[in-house]
Symmetry: C2
Subunit: 235 residues, 2 copies
DNA sequence: CCAAAAGTGTTAATTCTACACCCATGT
DNA sequence: ACATGGGTGTAGAATTAACACTTTTGG
């Protein structure tokens, strides 16, 4: 007995929704689709699952091909499997979202894909059901980040509290009280204050913080409370 | 242009982890696998995705075939795609979990599958990676139910507060204070008190409640707070 | 010296937890 | 009448939200 006869076999795509943060706004890394149909149109990064690789590895491979980055925070999102989602042939798409430090992304010369960062709010129309995928990714990111400390993945190793607050402001499109925010964040005991300051953003300068790596892995599983009344962010 | 040539096509399985509640314990509906390999061994309910059906429809179909039930609460879980998870041939499994009212499940005569309910805690070894699937489903159920009112799906239309509390006790394997529990649950304004009592459980009898359906759909998206310190339930 | 952003504390309101007694009824 | 499980209230603790002034320094 060698195969399950009589059953249909389908193509599996892996699609990655890649988020970044420019200090002010959430961004999305999009590519030009490299083959027909819809060649040249904007699309999320993706590729086909190879016969011998796990979906996680495939997602990591695809991300690395485009950005050169490894060890990136990724999370499985959802399977999109509407039979007519791809007009050429049925494809099941397994989606992932990735959070990357936008500064680590050194312009890839990918002639083939001509990737570009877009403001999330100003992203172009995407092919197929990729708009839905982005919506789902954003929703899940908000949900996840309201409960767990994952947004740090979007910042450089050293960052300031004002930067962090700007990030939360961008993700939730909401204002945070500076005093309450810093108190909550620091009370999680995840951050280590550095002695240097960032002088870019202001004359006075803001202290850098770094993640306490030992704590971080444990507390990834922990509920955080940086975002008040998460109710708002669930719809 | 008709197909994406050169790419491998794979089998897609849909597997459902079915939960029930017997008034005291969480249960799992398992079947005997009906074909080789591992024929006769215990397994989660599943089937292959057909060429023209969406994964959601496939999951509903498979659930209906086994239980006769429709309109059941289901949620997509995770894609399992380890290349060697099935020894015969590579299969990508899209998993769902389902919450059913165990009373609505009238013994199916499925000769083929010989399904049985198991106490979650006393479930047998399952084939392939189905043990992992069950773990993931339980984890997600706990996570979800700590934040959203989904556990009602495991109860009959009319239920009492003691029943509901027993359900939470079973799901989280933790004790709840009766007074605090009922106050929290009722403050969500999801339940409508009935005039009749359930006299099964006690001499005094406990009032029945029903979901306020109008509220329910809205509030499914709402954070609930029935479970204290959800931290414990995330690992 | 002044504009611009960083940093910090207090109070009132709300929510949460812990805890114990009375009630209704079937036997 | 009593055993069994159902139902209810309160007080202290903890958490959260709202709010404004001082500090630093580059220009």
């Amino acid at each position: 007995m060698n195969r399950y006869s009589k059953q249909a076999r389908l193509l599996i795509a892996i699609d990655c929704i890649i988020f970044g943060f420019d200090g002010e706004n959430l961004k999305l890394l999009l590519i030009h689709r490299a083959f027909e149909p819809e060649m040249g149109k904007w699309s999320v990064v993706g590729g086909f699952l190879q016969p011998d690789e796990s979906p996680e590895n495939a997602a990591a491979r695809i991300l690395k091909q485009l950005t050169g980055l490894e060890g990136v925070y990724m999370e499985q999102l959802e399977a999109f499997g509407n039979p007519s989602r791809d007009p050429i042939e049925r494809v099941i798409s397994l989606t992932y979202f990735a959070l990357i430090d936008i500064n680590k992304y050194t312009e890839q010369l990918s002639e083939e894909y001509r990737p570009e960062w877009f403001l999330l709010k100003e992203r172009p129309e995407l092919i197929f059901d990729h708009n839905e995928m982005v919506e789902a990714a954003l929703k899940k990111l908000r949900y996840k980040a309201a409960l767990h400390p994952v947004l740090f993945e979007l910042l450089p190793e050293k960052f300031t509290l004002p930067q962090l607050q700007a990030l939360y402001t961008a993700v939730y499109d909401a204002q945070f009280d500076k005093r309450n925010f810093s108190r909550k964040v620091l009370s999680a005991e995840l951050l280590v204050k550095q002695t240097e300051k960032d002088k870019e953003g202001s004359k006075k300068g803001a202290f850098y913080y770094m993640l306490d790596k030992t704590q971080y892995k444990d507390k990834l599983q922990t509920f955080v409370n940086f975002v008040p009344t998460p109710d708002n962010f669930l719809l």
